[in-house]
């Protein structure tokens, strides 16, 4: 049985199995359970890897590493957190490891203070951020916007990028993100705030240039 047919089959025969049921079946040696876990969460892990590393090949490596490691250590998974959180914990470590190995991406721990409004001359700075709810023909071209956001995200130092992705893209809470990255909730809040300010500045710069350039 291959592709989506496994899930279809499970839906027809039994109700959609919960993560707990899948983990239990896996422990009993079910290969089908593994397939369903990859089908259920593979796209999210791939997307996360892609956002963190920027290349599909890296995203695939990270995702493979994540699921392999998950299945090897699934016996030690005690269910004190959701399966998806545990997968993201493994994936986050893989992303950070991969980045350290890379020679071409310097460890740019740039100061984000420059994006705080204390900067002289920033009094009353107004930002040009398109309204996400404006209609499609307002100056919000979806493809263009994706490109602007993607480029801005890539310029974020990885420690900030990973927090922005987990919190604002993947929707994990502050506490969950702190648990995934094994750092304090306060550190998550600080990094997230700065990452958002950085994104705002970059998006606004782009649309200011559009307007006046």
């Amino acid at each position: 049985m291959q592709g989506e047919s496994v899930v279809n089959h499970m839906e027809k025969t039994a109700s959609n199995p919960s993560d707990e049921q899948l983990v239990a079946s896996f422990r009993e040696g079910s290969a089908e359970a593994m397939e369903i876990i990859v089908e259920r969460y593979g796209n999210r892990i791939l997307r996360f890897g892609l956002k963190m590393c920027g290349h599909l090949q890296d995203a695939e490596d990270i995702s493979q590493e994540t699921f392999l490691s998950a299945f090897r250590y699934l016996d030690s998974f005690r269910g004190e957190t959701r399966l998806i959180n545990w997968l993201f914990k493994i994936a986050s470590r893989a992303c950070m490891r991969k980045r350290r190995k890379k020679k071409d991406e310097p460890d740019r721990e740039i100061s984000l203070d420059a994006w705080l409004p204390e900067r002289p001359g920033d009094e009353g700075r107004s930002y040009q951020i398109p309204d996400p709810d404006a209609g499609p023909d307002a100056h919000l071209d979806r493809k263009e916007m994706k490109k602007v956001i993607g480029e801005a995200m890539r310029q974020l130092p990885p420690h900030y990028r990973i927090v922005l992705n987990l919190r604002d893209v993947e929707g994990f809470s502050t506490r969950e993100t702190a648990d995934i990255l094994e750092i304090s909730e306060q550190a998550i809040k600080t990094r997230l705030h700065r990452a958002r300010l950085f994104m705002r500045e970059k998006i606004s710069e782009y649309f200011e240039e559009e307007a006046y350039g």
């Binding site: 291959q2 592709g3 290969a31 593994m34 397939e35 990859v38 089908e39 593979g42 796209n43 791939l46 997307r47 892609l50 956002k51 599909l56 695939e60 995702s63 493979q64 699921f67 392999l68 299945f71 705080l116 409004p117 204390e118 009094e123 009353g124 107004s126 930002y127 951020i129 398109p130 309204d131 996400p132 979806r142 916007m145 994706k146 956001i149 993607g150 995200m153 922005l164 992705n165 604002d168 893209v169 502050t174 809040k189 997230l192 705030h193 958002r196 300010l197 994104m199 705002r200 998006i203 606004s204």
Partner: protein, 78 residues
């Protein structure tokens, strides 16, 4: 921007995320009523977050997921 604005500015992400206690929340809300700069700051940040959220959707080719599944299962069988 006065010193009050600056104090609140540092907490504005937490304000948007609903992570502040009721007292501070009420203070910021009342400040927002009188301060157009902070309102603008809040709104531009809210839009930024919403755009990041929506634009992050990534269509991953179904072939990639199939390849991932195959690779994982093969590696585990060896």
């Amino acid at each position: 921007m006065n010193s009050e604005c600056r104090t609140y500015f540092e907490r504005i992400s937490e304000f948007l995320d609903g992570e502040l206690d009721r007292d501070l929340c009420a203070k910021i809300e009342s400040h927002l009523q009188d301060c157009p700069e902070c309102r603008e700051c809040l709104e531009s940040l809210r839009r930024t977050i919403e755009l990041c959220r929506r634009m992050a959707e990534e269509e991953i080719d179904p072939g990639v997921l199939a390849r991932l599944k195959r690779a994982v299962l093969e590696a585990l069988n060896h």
